[in-house]
C-alpha cells in the first residue's frame, strides 16, 4: 500500500512554537483597496445512480462579494435565471425557484446526468450572462473506508483522519474533493487532493484533518474525551462520529479549489491570488458535475 505524506505542516507547527515563544500579536487596521462586488456561483451537481431511476432536486448558490471590512452576511442574489444544458436538453431555474440565502432549486429529470458527458451552466443576472462548463470524470473512484491514526504531541493525542480509497486505473490521474461531518455537523473547510504517484493501487491518502483531544490531565476520571461543539458550546463526549465524502472532480475544479485552500485559516499563501476563473465575465466560483461516495466511522479512545 502506498501513500503520500505532507509533513511540512509539522515544520510550520514547530516554527510556530518558536514564534510563539518570542512574538506578540495584535489586531491592526490596514488601508486596503476596495474591489467592486463580484458574482460568486457555487454549483456542484451530483451524478448518482438514483438519477437513473428517478428525478432529483439539486441546488445552486449565487452571492456577491463584499469589501474586506464589511459583514459577510446578506450577500445573496435573488434575481438570477439559471440554465443547465447538455447541448440537447435544458433545465431552467428562475427567480421563482429561489429558496432564500442565495439558494436556487434545480429539478433534474431522470437520465439527464451521466458520467463522461459535458454540461454548460449559464447564469443571467441584470442582463449579464456568466457561463461555465464541466464534465463528470469517467472513472469515479469509490471511498473504501476511513483511516484513523493516533499520535501524541505536546501532551495530547491527535487523531488524523485519512480517507482510504479503492484501486484506480493505472496511468490516469484523478482529483478529489472531501467533505466531512463531525457528529452530523459539517466541517467548513475546503479539502482537496490528487493521486500523484499513487494511481493504480488502493491507498490511504494524506490526512485531511485532525481531531484533538484534551490533555489527559484535564479530563474527568482520567478517561480522554473529545471536544465537540453542541448548541454553540464546547462539551466533552466519549466518542465522535465522522462522516467522510469523497467527491470525484475534474482537474480545473480541483485547481480552483486548491487555490482557495492556500489561504484557509488565515494562513498566508506564498502566492495569494484569485484562482483562474472558471466562469465568463469575471464571476468567481465553480461549476462541477461530480460523483460522490460517503462512509461513516465511530471514533473513541479505545
Amino acid at each position: 500500500m502506498k501513500s503520500k505524506i505532507k509533513s511540512t505542516h509539522y515544520l510550520i507547527g514547530l516554527f510556530g512554537l518558536l514564534i510563539t515563544l518570542l512574538s506578540c500579536k495584535k489586531v491592526i487596521s490596514l488601508d486596503l483597496k476596495k474591489d467592486d462586488p463580484r458574482i460568486i456561483i457555487e454549483a456542484a451537481i451530483e451524478v448518482d445512480s438514483l438519477n437513473q431511476i428517478d428525478s432529483s432536486t439539486q441546488y445552486i448558490y449565487i452571492r456577491r462579494s463584499v469589501s474586506f471590512d464589511a459583514a459577510i452576511s446578506g450577500l445573496e442574489v435573488n434575481n438570477a435565471t439559471i440554465t443547465l444544458t447538455d447541448g440537447k436538453d435544458t433545465i431552467l431555474s428562475t427567480p421563482k425557484n429561489y429558496q432564500g440565502n442565495g439558494k436556487y432549486e434545480l429539478k433534474i429529470q431522470q437520465g439527464f446526468l451521466t458520467q463522461n458527458k459535458s454540461y454548460t451552466l449559464m447564469v443571467k443576472i441584470d442582463n449579464i450572462e456568466y457561463s461555465a462548463s464541466s464534465t463528470c470524470p469517467t472513472y469515479a473512484i469509490p471511498l473504501d473506508s476511513i483511516g484513523v491514526f493516533k499520535q501524541k504531541s505536546f501532551g495530547r493525542y491527535n487523531y488524523s483522519i485519512a480517507p482510504i480509497r479503492n484501486e484506480t486505473p493505472a496511468g490516469i490521474p484523478n482529483w478529489y474533493q472531501f467533505k466531512a461531518k463531525k457528529n452530523g455537523v459539517k466541517i467548513n473547510k475546503i479539502l482537496v487532493d490528487d493521486d500523484q504517484n499513487l494511481d493504480g493501487v488502493e491507498s490511504t491518502l494524506k490526512p485531511i484533518f485532525e481531531l484533538n483531544e484534551f490533555s489527559p490531565d484535564t479530563v474527568v476520571n482520567k478517561i480522554p474525551k473529545f471536544k465537540v461543539i453542541k448548541n454553540g458550546k464546547p462539551i466533552l463526549e466519549d466518542g465522535v462520529e465522522i462522516e467522510l465524502t469523497l467527491v470525484n472532480i475534474e482537474y480545473k475544479v480541483y485547481r480552483y479549489l486548491f487555490n482557495l485552500t492556500q489561504n484557509q485559516g488565515g494562513r498566508q499563501s506564498i502566492t495569494p491570488s484569485n484562482p483562474d476563473p472558471l466562469f465568463t465575465n469575471g464571476a468567481f466560483g465553480y461549476f462541477s458535475v461530480q460523483k460522490s461516495f460517503s462512509r461513516k466511522k465511530w471514533i473513541n479512545n479505545k
Binding site: I5, T8, K25, K26, K34, S65, S153, N259
Partner: protein, 774 residues
Amino acid sequence: MKNFIVLTFFVTLCFIGFSQNKFTISGTITEQTKGEALIGVKVRVKDQSYLVATNEYGFYSITIPEGKYILAVTYIGYLPQEKEIELKENVSINFVMESPSEKTKELETAKVTINKQDNVRGSTMGVERLDPKSIAKIPVLLGEKDIIKTLQLLPGVKSAGEGNSGYYVRGGAADQNLILLDEAPVYNASHLLGFFSTFNSDAIKDATLYKGNQPANLGGRLSSVLDIKMNDGNNQRYNVSGGLGLISSKLNVEGPLVKDKSSFLITGRRTYADLFLKASKEFKENTLYFYDLNTKLNYKISQKDKIYLSGYFGRDVLGVGSTFGIDWGNATGTVRWNHIISPKLFSNTSIIYSSYDYKIAITAKQIDFTIKSKVLDYNLKQEFQYYANTKNKIKFGLNVINHNITPGQLDGSKGLSTSIVQLNPAKSIEGAVFILNDWEVNEKFSINYGARLSTFTVLGNGQEMYTYNADGTVKSSEIMLNNEYDTTYAVFEPRLSMSYSYREDQSFKFAYARNAQNIHLVSNATTSTPTDVILGSTRNTKPEIADQLAFGWFKNFKENTYEFNAEIYYKYLQNQIDYRNGANTQANQLLEGELLYGLGRAYGFEMILKKKKGKFNGWVSYCLSKSERKIEGINNGSWYNAKQDRTHDLSVVTIYDLTPKLSLSALFVFYTGNAVTFPSGKYTIEGQTQFLYTNRNGGRMPNYHRLDLGVNWIRKNTDTYESSWNFSIYNAYGRENAYTIAFQEKEGNPNITEAVQTSLFRWIPAITYNFKFK
C-alpha cells in the same frame, strides 16, 4: 664632427635607457602577533609612481627598473615600514607588520597610516569590505556578532526581514547572492530558522561583498558575491578565547604546530536554548539547538609553497518529543595550494567540497518515515595571478563544479507509508573560464576589464525528465540514462569597471557586468525555511541573466576623516522565476510545472557618509530603489513589484569611545515594508470566507524601524589576559514591527474579518562576556 659625437652620445644614452633591465621584488606580508597573511597591504616605491597591493594570500609582486629605491609598506591599523634596496636582480622580501602596543598606542596613533583614498582610487565599485574587528562594538540581537546582519547596514544591502538572515542586494532575490567561505559555497547561511547566521565572526579574517559588479574571476549569482576568508590560525603562540552569552557560547583555540611554518585554528559555538525548554513542563521533551565548528590547518612547505585545509560543520536540531524532528546543516571543506611559480606568477589551486542537507523524521505508533534532501558539490578551481608590470595585474583560470541535488526522498518503514519513493540526485556540471586585467593606466585613471564564459550541462540521472504545458500540466516525459547528456547552456559574461580620479580625493567610477546563475532557490513558504527547494537549470528552467550598469562619485574630505560615496545603478534581468497563481508548493514532485518565467528590472540610488577617525565615528547609509518583475500569467503580464521591493532603506551607526576602555554605540534602522499581496474584498465558498485579491504584491507591510543601544567595556587587558563585557538592548523603544500579517475571522463574530499582526523582538537585552588568554 663635434655634432656627430654629441649625436652619438645621446643615441647611446637612449639605447641604454631602453635596454635598462627590470627586476621583480616579490614576497608575502604577514602580521606580527599571529603570522596571518594580510590582504590589501600597499607596497609603494617611494618618490615613484609604482604601487601594488597584496592579494588574498598576502602575496605581492612589483617589477621596476634596476636601481636604488625605498620600499614603503602601509596598512590600516599597523605601523608603516620602509626598506632600502638596491635592485640588481629578482629578490624576495617578506614583511611582518606590527601593530602599536597598548602602552604606546596614543603616541603611535599619529604614525599609523590609514590607507588613503582606497575608496577613491580603486577601479572596482559596488564593493563593501568588512573587518570582523570593526563590528565588535555594533549592538546586535542577543549579543551575537553577525557579519551578515552588519552588511545589511550598508547601502544597497537590505535585510530580508526580522527572523531571516537572508538579504537582498540591489533589488535581487535572496537566492541571487553567492556566499563563499574559503571558496566553498554555503547554501543555507542561517541557524534557528533565520534568527542567526551561520558564520562565527571569531573565525573570520575578512569579508568582501561585491554588489553585482564583481571581477571576472567571481560569478555564479546575479546580485552579489560575499567572499569570506577564515583566519589561518596563530603561528606564533597559542591563544584561547571565547565568549559567554545569554543564548550561546563560543570557544576559539589556535596556535602553532611548527612556529612560523604551520598553525591550526578551531572555533566552536553552541546555543543552549534547549536548556530553557527543559525547565518547562510543557516543552521539556522538545529539542532546540544549533552548533557550528570552524577548523583550519595550514603548512608552509617552502618559501614558494603553502597548503591550507579548512572546514566548516554546522547543524540545527529541532524536535518535538520523540515524535517529530528536523535537522539540517552545512558542511564545507577546502584544500588549497598556493604556489609561487615565479616572482611574477602566483598560482592558487583549490579542491572544494560543499554540502547542505535536511532531514525530517516522524515517528509514532502507526507511522514512521523520513524525508531527506541534499545538495552536494565537488569543485575544482585553478587561478593564476600574473603581475605583468607595475601597471597590469592579470588573473586567469577556470572553475568546474559537479552538482548533485536530491530534492527530497521519502523513506518509510511502516504505517501510512510502506514503500520508498527513491529520487536520484539531479546531476549537472557547471564550468567557467575567465580572464581579467587590473590596469592602472596612470595616476588618475584605472580600469579593471575581463570576461567570463560560464557553462551549465544537465545530465541524466536514470529517472524521468519532464516538460510542461503552459497551464503547468505535464507535456512530455523521457527517461534519461545516468550521466547521459541532456542540455548545455553557455553564457558570455563581460565585465568592466573604471575609475577616474580628477582630484586626489575625488573620483568618478563606472561599471558594467553581465552575470549568469544556474542554481535557483524556490521557496515554499512566505519566509525562508530550511526546506526551500534548490533547483539547477533544466530543460524548462533556463539560466537567469542580469546586466548591471553603475555610476558612482567618491569623495574623501578633512584629511580622509570623512568618506562619501554615491552610486546609481540599473539592472536588467532575464529568466526570472516566480510561482504561478495558486501554486502547489508542498511536496510536489512536479514543482517546475508551478513556475513561470519572465523579466525583471531594478534601479536605485545609494549613498554612504562615513566618519572614520576620532572618538566619535560611524556612518549613515541610505538607498532609494525600485525592483519589479514582468511575467506572463501574473498580473495580466504587467510589471509588478518584486517581493523584495523597498523604496527607502536608512541605517545610522554611531560609536563613541568615551574612554579607551569604554565605548557606547547606537544603531537606528528604517526601511519601507516589503511588497505583499493583501485582499481587497471577501466572499464565501463551502461555508468558508475567501478573499479577493487585486495585483500581486500591490500592498505594503508597515514601515520597519528600531533603535539598538550598546555598551562595550574592556574590563582587563594585560599581556596575558584580556576580558570585556558587552551589554546591548535590541529594539530599545519596543517598536512592534510586523513579522507577518494574517487575516482571520473575528472571535465571536465570524462575519467580520480582522488583520492580525505578529511582531517579534521587542526590548531584547543581551549580556556577553568575552575572554582571551594570550
